[in-house]
């Protein structure tokens, strides 16, 4: 593998010439692999990432799982969280941010703790996915810690129109059920039990 340290390790966080760039804050220049003592990484996060790395022949393979771990801990991939993971994995924070930003499920900007993804792809669109998304948006207010977003095909066209709520699938949904679901989320109760994907039989019924 390539050296993970690069040039500049002895020039950490160089101050930036104000004359050329006012906007820059001196101690925030790009950095090499942070050393563990430079980030205060929660023990459980460190252990989790180390355990993940051990599952693969090459530790870099753990970058997506590690970012998942960061997101589970902080709600999104915070710069600090990325630095912590980077220090444990011995890669640069830039590398991890680059990876995170490629994937739709990893958020490099703050999002709500509850996540609602409404499919607006072909099959769901045909059955009212757009309206369902509108309904979810209308049902949530800025106070809510709920992140509502339209999403590409979630692989559940059989229950169109559908939504993924906190990583569980529900459908087919009436626009009206958006309100119910949001209230259940607020109340911390079980969400639309009868619309859970798990509960669906095969369309063709039991074996002949």
């Amino acid at each position: 593998m390539s050296p993970v340290d690069g040039p500049g390790i002895s020039n950490p966080n160089l101050p930036v010439d104000q004359a050329l760039t006012e906007r820059r804050i001196p101690d925030r220049s790009s950095e090499q692999v942070p050393e563990l003592h430079e980030v205060d990484c929660p023990a459980e996060l460190r252990e989790r990432i180390e355990q993940l790395m051990s599952r693969y022949p090459d530790r870099k393979s753990a970058s997506i799982p590690a970012l998942w771990a960061v997101q589970r801990l902080y709600g999104w991939c915070t710069p600090e969280g990325i630095r912590q993971a980077a220090a444990v994995m011995r890669v640069t924070p830039a590398y991890l941010e680059s990876v995170a930003s490629f994937y739709d499920l990893l958020h490099t900007d703050p999002v709500g703790t509850h996540k609602v993804a409404v499919c607006t792809n072909i099959s769901c669109w045909m059955r009212g996915g757009d309206e369902l998304l509108d309904a979810f948006r209308a049902a949530t207010s800025d106070e809510d810690d709920i992140f509502v977003t339209g999403f590409e095909c979630l692989g559940a066209c059989d229950i169109a129109p559908m939504a993924s709520i906190d990583e569980r699938y529900f459908g087919p949904l009436e626009a009206a059920e958006a309100q119910t679901a949001i209230e259940q989320l607020r109340g911390g109760g079980e969400v639309l039990p009868e619309k859970a994907l798990e509960k669906r039989p095969l369309p063709g019924g039991p074996d002949a």
Binding site: S2, P3, V4, D5, G6, P7, G8, I9, S10, N11, P12, L14, P15, V16, D17, Q18, A19, L20, T21, R24, R28, S29, S30, E31, Q32, V33, E35, L36, H37, E38, P79, I82, R90, V91, T92, P93, A94, Y95, E97, S98, S101, F102, Y103
Partner: protein, 825 residues
């Protein structure tokens, strides 16, 4: 790479190529141009992203990317069929879908590959009428580089440079699809020592240099080739000149030297040559302007007064300048006291053995070596371009790297073995290594020995600073080389990283206390000298300092050196220069040293100078004048020749060519090498017949230069105070005028910083950022704490050459131990 010759047909033409090379390159040699954007072999494996290079290969239904298709014998290729033209114009049209058509106001206009390829291969006009994507218009990617993301065509070049070449992994692609953009972590400025290269790589106007933006247009500039002398790497550069002034520095690809890269020091450093502090003409003590005649007369007078009790120390100088200085000393004044090293170095006989052609590695050997040992230097700071070269060897050729230094280096992460010996412990380490290579043991050196022992070829990149430990370090190094039989192995040998840019050229030109031109034995050379009590063997820099202080020496000529900043033991130097009757300075800038001079002469920079330098691997290179000399600056060879004449000694030098001729006459192994031989690429004397004239170690025996007694290796001497730490110092890439006198680089000027191991920091209750006083019997300097995982316990490190709190203040001849005391949190 398999060198097998094969034949293929491109556009009906028979083309010969080497098996395995990429179709695009084979076509090029067959004079068939295939347009490319993402393809750049220097960046590693092709990525095949831009799709510009699609061609038709008979037998393969789909078009193939010629940048990534290895040629095969009998291949039949078409690059101008309708199918190919259709693909090429489609790709160009796609590239322009999001690329603004603002060439007239774009800094790249006129030298833009996208512009050229669009005209040559594009559809003529784009059918795209919709909105193009929008980004904040040019913002700073770094204080030196602006990025205009709307112009970016996502060719991957810049990010691949960051990942595959510099390996800083800082510059990345963010987001996905057509939302993708080039950026850094958390929008922080991209600060890394090689980052300027991305402006050369960018095929569009997306990455531009703040130091060049809008300063010139392609039609009112010209390019002038020269050599960068800001560090020993001596990279080949091309100055972009407008109105006889340097506006930009570009890499001038020389695979034997720099691989076509430049560090930011070489790229942006020229901006300091316009500084206020620049010495623009001769002057006498007290700042009084003086005519050249007055100044030269005054200098001659001072030197005459000193006579044989004069000395010269040469640093930033061309071979010819060095040659002339030592002639003034030896022949005009009968003084053997000439040196070109900041403290001391090996004796002549050791030097002769170190420089033996069979033992000297060339830069290219790094590419082909099975194993590389980096010893006593961090190339990143002392010879940056070698850092990239070594990374390339590991990445591309799977070379094994061993690092043995006082301080952690930037290369440690890629090293198979990295050992950090105590400051001053190189001698000890090397002798252990030599033993361990001969019969394996479990000592400190065993890991390093493992890497080197069975390697077919070994390149040792070593810092001449280890000579500060004394002769012993170098004899130990020679012993390691012997244990590895480097002289007998292919692609193997020693490659020195000296402290002075042109150290090799200067010593070969005769600037050593015990060796004349061509490392000739002065005890013989000097028999011709008439002057009484001329000692055959002169004093080394360190001794000159002592002798000036004691009054044994009267006059000192300092050529391109600044002892008060750059040499160990600042106080002692201050005393020495104060005690001296006369100090004559040749200097680029006014500084603490010139303030002590009775005569100051201006130096030319590598953009103005005409002369030769010798790369540490023996390559003679030509520095060519590209820009006009500011103020009343004259060519230094002329000044020295005239000074010698006034001293009553005619060097016969009347022009740069005649100076070069005199040099090649005086140096047996330069004999017959002409300016034409050097040309634009330089020539290693070891690769010419004159190699035979290299001094033989055997004849070097005898002669009392044994005054450089090789003292015992500096062991980890006992600490005077219990919590004392052994101090190591190093010259940071950015310490000195390069950042202080250079507005664009000022932000890089390093603050004094003491690097500590985690255990020591804990023990002393210190954390990164704390302000401390680092003290050594009496003297102390202020610094901020930087805790570092890989600093070994019991040691700490400070920077040399900083404007304030220069670590040289704490240094004496041998390793010192310091105490650290917190002053503020």
């Amino acid at each position: 790479m398999s060198g097998k010759e094969i034949n293929l047909i491109i556009d009906g033409r028979e083309v010969t190529a080497t098996e395995g090379e990429m179709l695009h390159d084979a076509a090029k040699r067959g004079d068939v141009e295939i347009p490319v954007f993402c393809y750049e072999p220097k960046l590693g494996e092709p990525v095949g992203a831009c799709r510009m290079c699609l061609v038709e290969i008979e037998g393969i239904p789909k078009l193939q990317t010629s940048c990534s298709t290895p040629v095969r014998d009998g291949m039949v290729v078409h690059t101008r069929t309708d199918q190919v033209k259709h693909a090429q114009s489609a790709v160009v049209e796609f590239l322009l879908v999001n690329h603004p058509l603002d060439c007239p106001v774009c800094d790249k206009g006129g030298e833009c590959p996208l512009q050229d390829i669009s005209i040559g291969w594009g559809p003529g006009k784009s059918r795209m009428t919709d909105q193009k994507r929008h980004f904040e218009k040019p913002i700073e990617l770094s204080p030196l580089v602006a990025i205009d993301r709307e112009r970016c065509i996502l060719c991957y070049r810049c990010v691949r440079f960051s990942q595959e070449v510099a390996e800083d992994e800082q510059l990345q692609l963010l987001e996905r699809g057509d939302r993708t953009f080039v950026g850094t972590f958390d929008d922080r400025p991209y600060v890394a020592p090689f980052h300027g290269n991305i402006t050369d790589l960018c095929p569009v106007g997306a990455l531009t240099s703040y130091t060049y933006r809008f300063r010139a247009r392609p039609w009112d500039i010209e390019q002038a080739g020269s050599v960068c002398t800001l560090c020993p790497s001596q990279c080949n550069v091309s100055f972009t000149v407008r109105d006889e002034q340097v506006k930009r520095v570009l890499a001038r690809d020389n695979a034997e030297v720099d691989d076509g890269w430049l560090c930011d020091r070489g790229r942006y450093g020229f901006e300091m040559f316009g500084a206020e502090e620049r010495v623009r003409g001769p002057r006498l003590r007290g700042g009084g302007e003086a005519s050249w005649e007055q100044a030269i007369a005054k200098a001659a007078e001072a030197l005459k007064a000193g006579g044989a009790k004069s000395a010269a120390i040469v640093g930033d100088a061309s071979n010819e300048e060095g040659y002339l200085v030592q002639r003034i000393m030896r022949e005009a004044l009968g003084s053997p006291n000439v040196d070109s090293r900041p403290s001391r170095g090996p004796s002549r006989e050791t030097q002769v053995r170190l420089d033996h052609p069979d033992l000297s590695a060339k830069v290219r050997d790094i590419d082909n070596a099975d194993a590389i040992l980096v010893l006593g230097t961090d190339p990143l700071h002392s010879s940056p371009i070698l850092d990239l070269r070594i990374r390339k060897a590991i990445r591309r050729n799977g070379a094994k790297l061993a690092v043995a230094t006082e301080q952690p280096t930037a290369l440690d992460g890629g090293a198979t073995a990295a050992t950090h010996y105590a400051p001053g412990g190189a001698t000890l380490f090397l002798s252990e290594l030599a033993n361990c290579l001969r019969l394996p043991n479990e000592g400190h050196a065993s890991d390093v020995a493992e890497v080197l022992r069975d390697a077919g070829s070994v390149a040792i990149v070593w810092g001449d600073r280890i000579a500060r430990e004394g002769e012993g370090a170098l004899t130990a190094l020679l012993d390691v080389a012997a244990a590895l039989t480097l002289d007998a192995k292919e692609n193997s040998g020693l490659l020195e990283v000296p402290e002075f840019t042109n150290a090799r050229g200067l010593r070969e030109a005769g600037c050593l206390p015990d060796a004349g031109p061509g490392l000739s034995d002065t005890s013989r050379a000097l028999t011709t000298i008439s002057v009484e009590n001329a000692r055959p063997v002169g004093m080394a820099t360190e001794e000159i300092r002592g002798a000036l202080e004691s009054g044994e020496l009267k006059t000192v000529l300092l050529f391109g050196v600044d002892p008060l900043r750059d040499f160990p033991d600042t106080q002692a130097w201050d005393r020495a220069l104060t005690a001296a009757n006369h100090v004559i300075c040749f200097s680029t800038f006014e500084n603490a040293t010139t303030a002590k001079a009775s005569v100051v002469f201006p130096l030319e920079t590598h953009a103005e100078k005409d002369g030769t330098v010798s790369h540490p691997d023996g390559r003679l290179q030509r520095v060519r004048p590209s820009a006009s000399r500011p103020g009343d600056i004259r060519p230094n060879w002329g000044v020295l020749a005239e000074l010698s004449l006034v001293l009553g000694h005619d060097t016969g030098v009347s022009s740069q060519p005649s100076a070069f001729a005199a040099l090649t006459e005086a140096v047996p192994f330069y004999a017959g090498i002409t300016d034409a031989d050097i040309g634009g690429r330089g020539i290693r004397w070891q690769d010419t017949p004159t190699r035979a004239n290299a001094p033989k170690p055997d004849e070097a025996s005898g002669t009392g230069s044994s005054k450089h007694s090789s003292e015992a290796p500096a062991e980890g001497f006992e600490d005077p105070v219990p919590e004392a730490l052994t101090l190591g110092t190093y010259r940071d890439l950015w310490a000195g005028p390069i950042t202080e006198l250079n507005p664009p680089l000022r932000f890089l000027a390093p603050q004094q910083r003491v690097e500590l191991s985690i255990p020591d920091a804990d023990r002393l209750g210190l954390k990164s950022g704390d302000e401390v006083k680092v003290a050594q019997n009496g003297t102390s300097i202020r610094a901020r704490v930087a805790v570092r995982e890989r600093v070994s316990e019991g040691t700490c490190f400070l920077l040399e050459g900083t404007a304030e709190a220069n670590a040289n203040a704490l240094l004496g001849g041998s390793p010192v131990s310091v105490t650290i005391e917190k002053t503020a949190g």
